[in-house]
């Protein structure tokens, strides 16, 4: 228990640190403005966790996860926007969205149960493009490339949430999804998924029903992706145009899973932070620092003429599109991914490496979910004791 309570403490501290970012921003005028991109990080974390269930746990490569996000965003938009007669509230629309996402997951999962590996990747890739095109072409329903707006912002007990309210709400969503993914992973459902990834034939021979397990994985993945899409739509007050849910989003989600550690819930959370954080925090800040549109030389440089000149020189260069780091993001992503594949192909926080200090693997390290050890008193003290080396 000592290990898991330490883990819980670390997790709680991490959560508290992340939760305090909007407060710090409010009272410490550093001009950080990272709570907005951090909200994106939470949404991508949800998307990544969903994809992780399908690709990480079950081993089914999905290159069309953005399509599920698009379905989520559009179902949410149609069910809430005031130009349609439905006008559901935020929470009921969210429920509907997740159900619709799960249905879409079934719809894609059922015909592709026998398809594996590269072939499945192609099918899902195609699905992603089809959904995008359908959304564009059914313009009497989806408003085509205009997107649907305005949408109601997230609410909580009837109150509309602003910037930091949304930040905390989305953080809680990401957290709940992470705990849920963890709970599933550490149960017979997750074991079934992982056994299919490891060896489908052997798992069938042990009585696992792969069709059943794969459908559940598809539905869960799609439902979470739809949730991510709906949350973004609500935050931006627009479904966005269908082109926003293109292949790049799917690839970004996949990169989050791979960079973080495929099959690892913590890894995916970290992956979302690294990938989206790099994209919308680090590179943006770097561009600003290098003298984006309105950067002035720091006060310290004002006196030193030489340095000021140097700053202006750099700034002029930086305004060149080629020098601005945000324009190099795909190069940076690509480089990061290549380096990852060479030096740490299992991801930053691999599924098994993260558990090295609690080799029982099934319970002790369930961390954030706070369910260390086997409950039920003396039900299985033997088990937990013998598991420790």
């Amino acid at each position: 228990m000592a290990i898991s309570s330490k883990r819980i403490t670390i997790n709680l501290l991490l959560i508290a640190a992340v939760a305090s970012i909007p407060i710090i921003e409010k009272f410490v005028p550093l001009g950080l403005h990272i709570s907005d991109p951090m909200t994106d990080v939470f949404v991508y974390a949800i998307l990544g966790l969903g994809l992780n269930i399908l690709t990480g746990f079950t081993g089914l490569l999905n290159l069309g996860v953005a399509a599920f996000a698009a379905i989520g965003a559009y179902v949410f938009a149609i069910s809430t926007c005031e130009i349609y007669p439905f006008q559901l509230g935020f929470w009921s629309a969210l429920g509907l969205t997740m159900a619709a996402g799960a249905l879409a997951g079934f719809a894609l999962g059922a015909p592709t149960l026998r398809v594996r590996g590269d072939y499945l990747a192609i099918v899902t890739l195609g699905f992603g493009e089809i959904v995008k095109d359908v959304l564009v072409n059914m313009d009497s329903i989806t408003k085509g490339t205009q997107g649907i707006n305005p949408l109601p912002p997230p609410t909580l007990f009837g109150h509309e949430l602003g910037g930091s309210g949304q930040y905390w709400l989305f953080m809680v969503f990401a957290l709940v999804v992470a705990i849920g993914a963890r709970s599933l992973e550490r149960s017979r459902i997750g074991r079934g998924w992982i056994s299919i990834r490891e060896d489908e034939l052997a798992s069938r021979a042990m009585g696992i029903r792969p069709d059943h397990a794969k459908m559940l994985a598809f539905a869960t993945c799609a439902s979470l992706a739809a949730l991510a899409g709906a949350l973004t739509a609500s935050r931006l007050s627009s479904s966005g145009e269908p082109g926003n849910y293109d292949f790049q989003i799917s690839i970004l989600a996949l990169c989050i899973v791979i960079v973080g550690g495929i099959g690892s819930v913590r890894g995916v959370l970290l992956g979302a932070l690294v990938m989206v954080g790099m994209n919308s925090i680090v590179l943006v800040k770097l561009t600003e620092l290098m003298g984006g549109s309105d950067a002035a030389p720091p006060a310290a440089l004002a006196d030193a003429h030489g340095l000021q000149w140097a700053f202006l020189f750099v700034k002029t260069w930086a305004q060149n599109v080629l020098i601005s780091p945000t324009n190099w993001k795909f190069l940076v992503f690509g480089l990061a991914l290549v380096l990852m594949m060479i030096f740490r192909p299992e991801g930053i926080l691999p599924a098994r490496g993260a558990k090295e200090d609690a080799p029982d693997g099934d319970e002790g390290s369930s961390g954030a979910s706070g369910v260390g050890g086997v409950p039920g008193g003396g039900a299985s003290p033997v088990a937990t004791k013998e598991l420790r080396p």
Binding site: M138, S140, G192
Partner: protein, 347 residues
């Protein structure tokens, strides 16, 4: 041995194109015995195992377990499911065909911004639009969709009548010649996968971690430990399956197979790659499995093991059964000796 027949293989032929892997093989395994299938490499032993466990469908012949074939029956639930899938396909087909028209008529034209929406009127329009679209573009499409969905489900069901998971659930477990453990899982988890078919918690119970989930989880883990103890691997319970030495991996595979609580276990070359001490341990283990009440069928090349523990032996060569009998009979059977050592007679 006058026990009831638990597994009966009747004239099973396995053909892969022109290759005949098994030709009219028959054998019957009695409950509670240790039964060996031997034969030179390529004799079709593993193919026979694959046919028994549902990985292959026998081209001809029957495989009876406990007197009946393991096959999915078309139940009332299957009918409901087939009809449900058919209806869903029908709805999707109709929507795909004229969703925009329906939407235009029922929603766009009926809804005035910020006015209450006339639901009844909209539904009526939905019906009239569908009628106006003509018989074939609604009912025709719907019927077509239904038939498509229904037939698709039927086809999948038909191809899935005898699958490895069904065979496993019926009570036949197996191990594999080339060990197929779940490498990234630890020992307990490997065994728990075997026990999965006896778990009753569903998706929501697992997601929400209900009290029932915890009770079942605790009980299952204790049971998993018992299986690991049975194969003397409990000390390594927390380590990854891939980190085990070869002989232990074989034992873990047996534990995983036993965890499905089978009546019959098929061991495919359990002693392969083992040293004499290990195979002696294995023989003891196989006897203990039999003593638990599990019938054992094994494929083995190690004659010491085969002759030491088998009650009866079947010899296959070139996919055909060439002999059957007790170890003593097989040892002295000239046909078997010829199969293994060759003969002077050219045939």
């Amino acid at each position: 041995m006058t026990m009831a027949t638990i597994l009966e293989v009747r004239d099973v032929t396995m053909r892969f194109g022109g290759l005949v892997a098994n030709e009219r093989v028959s054998m019957s395994v009695h409950g509670g015995e240790i039964f060996a299938v031997i034969g030179p490499n390529g004799a079709g032993k593993t193919t026979l195992f694959n046919a028994i466990t549902g990985i292959y469908e026998a081209t001809e012949g029957q495989i009876l377990f406990d007197g009946k074939e393991i096959r999915r029956e078309w139940s009332r639930k299957t009918s409901f499911r087939a009809i449900g899938i058919g209806l869903a396909t029908a709805v999707v087909a109709v929507l795909a065909y004229n969703a925009t028209d329906l939407w235009q008529g029922a929603i766009v034209e009926k809804y005035v911004y910020a006015q209450p929406f006339p639901w009844g009127e909209a539904m009526a329009t939905l019906v009239t639009t569908m009628r106006a679209a003509g018989f074939w573009s609604t009912w025709g499409i719907a019927v077509l969709g239904f038939i498509l969905g229904r037939l698709g489900y039927g086809a999948i069901w038909h191809s899935q009548r005898r699958t490895p998971d069904l065979v496993s659930r019926a009570g036949i477990a197996r191990t594999f010649q080339n060990i197929r453990l779940f490498a990234e899982m630890n020992l307990v988890e490997n065994v728990l996968v075997g026990m999965d078919q006896h778990c009753t918690c569903g998706y929501w119970a697992c997601l929400l971690r209900t009290p029932r989930f915890w009770r079942e989880q605790a009980a299952m883990r204790i049971r998993a430990y018992e299986f690991l103890k049975f194969v003397e691997l409990a000390d390594a319970a927390g380590s990854l399956a891939s980190s085990l030495p070869y002989g232990h991996q074989r034992r873990l595979e047996i534990a995983r197979a036993l965890a499905t609580e089978p009546k019959l276990i098929l061991l495919d070359e359990p002693a392969a790659g083992m040293n004499p001490a290990e195979s002696a341990d294995l023989m003891r283990l196989i006897r203990r499995i039999r003593d638990r009440g599990v019938t054992v069928v094994l494929i083995e090349h190690d004659m010491k093991v085969v002759m030491g523990i088998s009650d009866r032996i079947v010899v296959l060569q070139h996919g055909k059964k060439i002999a059957e009998g007790t170890p003593e009979e097989i040892r002295t059977n000239p046909v078997c000796i010829a199969a293994y050592l060759g003969t002077e007679v050219v045939h």
